[in-house]
């Protein structure tokens, strides 16, 4: 138990939780906690596949804009074809997986660092998001699709609220937890999970013992794309209209959540639960500052400081845990 990668993050999360419970009166209300969970889940849906990718030893800088691309494709396809929105949702899944496949395939074929490949994808997608949206819609945001067929049922799946007791839980929380469970099972109970750890620990060794390195890495990028698709559909059905310039910068937050959760930047170590806890710390911190009514000009400073403290605590506990073994 002490050797688990997420242990430090869990202690960090408890610390952050206690701090805000003390300084912010409204933090502990059910409605507040559901807001915090919502904020955490929109990060967490991406942080989990990003963590898997990092355990596999690779990065993806295109994740933030990929989410936006995914929702843009969905919205614009439905609108331009006057199609049932589910058709757009399906097309978007194919396109988003295509982007993931592109990242993975380019990586294993060119042997360039994933930093470079996905930086290229990030820039290209940023341009495509703006250029294509303007070309197709005539403006930089999409048209409303809320009056189209299929919208209500798609909204129910991607952006509805479930009332549990006095709290309204966003459906993204369910998606998030399901992804954590799926990723944890994959990592700890399947052969593919062993491959991911092996590939991240040392590519050449892994190949020598018969791990299909290329297939594993491409699979990890497809997983990230799947997460981007879910997040993208949530954005679309929650806000109806998508701004094409959104998403830039979020990729770093996903990576930060995975790192806080105990994933090593060098690969081969980490967990899906840790990434989820990392996203939760991020969600608590960013909203806790608001609940505490701290001076908003200092917002980013507080956020950064809290994150650093969480990561340091995480590292310290891991060291203690390893020493005591």
């Amino acid at each position: 138990m002490l050797g688990r990668p997420e242990l430090g993050a869990v202690v960090g999360a408890i610390a952050v939780f206690v701090v805000f419970s003390v300084v912010a009166d409204s933090f502990l209300r059910a409605s507040s906690l559901s807001t915090v969970l919502y904020a955490s889940s929109t990060l967490g849906i991406m942080a989990v596949p990003v963590a898997l990718l990092m355990i596999g030893g690779e990065f993806d800088l295109s994740t933030g804009v990929m989410v936006t691309s995914s929702s843009l494709v969905s919205s614009m396809f439905s609108y331009q074809m006057t199609a049932n929105v589910w058709v757009g949702v399906g097309v978007s899944l194919l396109v988003t997986l295509g982007i993931g496949l592109f990242n993975g395939y380019m990586l294993v074929r060119t042997k360039l660092p994933s930093f470079i490949i996905t930086l290229g994808t990030f820039l290209m997608l940023t341009g495509l998001n703006l250029g294509l949206t303007k070309l197709i819609s005539g403006t930089v945001s999409t048209k409303t699709i809320s009056d189209m067929e299929g919208f209500a049922s798609a909204k129910a799946l991607f952006a509805s609220e479930l009332t549990i007791g006095s709290a309204d839980i966003q459906v993204t929380v369910v998606w998030w937890l399901a992804l954590v469970a799926l990723a944890t099972w994959l990592l700890l109970r399947t052969k593919a999970g062993n491959w991911i750890f092996a590939v991240g620990g040392g590519e050449h060794t892994a190949r020598a013992v018969g791990v299909p390195v290329a297939r594993t890495k491409i699979g990890l990028y497809l997983g990230v794309a799947l997460g981007a698709w879910i997040s993208g559909q949530h954005l679309l059905f929650n806000y109806d209209v998508v701004q094409s310039g959104e998403g830039v910068g979020n990729e770093l937050i996903y990576i930060a959540a995975a790192v806080i959760g105990g994933c090593l930047l060098t690969g081969g170590y980490g967990s899906a639960v840790g990434a989820a806890v990392g996203a939760f710390i991020f969600g608590m911190t960013s909203k806790g500052i608001v609940y505490a009514q701290w001076e908003p000009d200092w917002f980013k400073f507080f956020l950064g400081a809290m994150l650093l403290v969480a990561v340091l605590l995480n590292a310290w506990i891991r060291k203690r845990a390893e020493a005591s073994r």
Partner: protein
């Protein structure tokens, strides 16, 4: 059976909304030159970030005026002042006949503007930089005084009997945004609190605002500084179970729709279309007839307060992206 097959065949299509509905609704705006003057070249360099709805509308105004005035129009933008200044220099090197520039960060733009003026290129500033426009040698400034606009919001809130507002800033460090909130604070008799949120991340905006409304039940108004954030603010208030009403700066299609159905209280429009249109037209008038709109004083395009009764007229124009 045949009914079943027919419905399967149609299953991929939506009988409501979409492009087909838009086409049925719209007649295209034509763009022929109305004048016989030579084809002059005008460049606009803004401080817009990428994919900004607001500047898109400014651009469509400028393009419409350019089509009418037989002008070759070039647009470029960069949100970083240093690079924006480089773009101005590039336009000067390109021998344009007129230059339209926004001065969000005036000091960094000073050198480039002065160079343009020295080269004999008439310069008009738009949107921001009213204080520095004349000093740098620009012919005129077209835009909205942000503090005045904020003051208009404050007064409107007083009339509506509001007590406590939160001002949602979606870009940290944007001077114009600070000015808007300062303006609100100046005239509003109630309390105003600023809230910062990351504008490129909509769920983060929503949850931050929800948190704010949950932590302070007395807030009865949310002021958003950009139209795309108004519908999100409405959602946040619903989510927080708060009665706070959303009012917004600027306008877009979604905001116009919510203005109409009453979920947004009012919108303060600075009429971006007019900023682009008048800037091009003013340069044309100056060159053709030595006219100067406003006699060289700043020409204000706002604040225009829009309420429910204006919404249905406006929707037609927000849909095509000109309001």
């Amino acid at each position: 059976m045949s009914v079943g097959l027919a419905s399967v065949g149609l299953a991929g299509c939506s009988s409501t909304g979409g492009k087909r509905a838009e086409e049925e609704r719209n007649a295209a705006v034509s763009g022929d030159a109305a004048v016989g003057t030579p084809r002059w070249k005008i460049a606009m360099v803004s401080h817009s970030g990428e994919g900004d709805t607001f500047w898109d509308i400014v651009q469509s105004g400028a393009k419409q005026a350019a089509a009418k005035d037989n002008i070759e129009f070039h647009y470029s933008h960069d949100k970083e002042a240093g690079r924006q200044a480089q773009l101005v220099k590039a336009a000067v090197d390109n021998d344009v006949d007129g230059l339209i520039v926004s001065l969000a960060k005036p000091d960094a733009m000073k050198g480039a503007i002065k160079k343009a003026v020295k080269a004999g290129i008439p310069v008009v500033t738009v949107n921001s930089g009213q204080d520095k426009s004349e000093e740098y040698g620009a012919l005129a400034h077209i835009g909205q005084d942000e503090v005045l606009a904020g003051e208009a919001v404050g007064r409107e809130l007083n009339e509506r009997g509001r007590k406590k507002a939160v001002c949602l800033l979606h870009e940290q460090g944007n001077v114009g945004h600070e000015e808007r909130c300062r303006g609100v604070r100046k005239t509003f008799d109630g309390k105003v609190r600023n809230l910062h949120a990351d504008g490129t991340n909509m769920p983060a905006v929503e949850s931050s605002l929800e948190a704010e409304l949950q932590s302070d039940r007395e807030i009865d108004t949310v002021v958003t500084l950009g139209a795309p954030f108004a519908p999100t603010a409405v959602k946040a208030a619903e989510g927080a179970g708060s009665k706070a009403e959303t009012v917004t700066f600027d306008l877009n299609d979604q905001a116009a729709r919510e203005l109409k159905d009453g979920s947004i209280g009012f919108a303060v429009d600075q009429q971006p279309y007019l900023q682009g249109y008048e800037a091009v037209d003013l340069l044309w008038l100056e060159r053709y007839n030595a006219n100067m709109l406003g006699g060289g004083e700043p020409v204000l395009t706002g604040p225009q307060i829009l309420t429910k009764k204006d919404a249905s007229t406006l929707q037609k124009y927000t849909k095509r992206g000109t309001r």
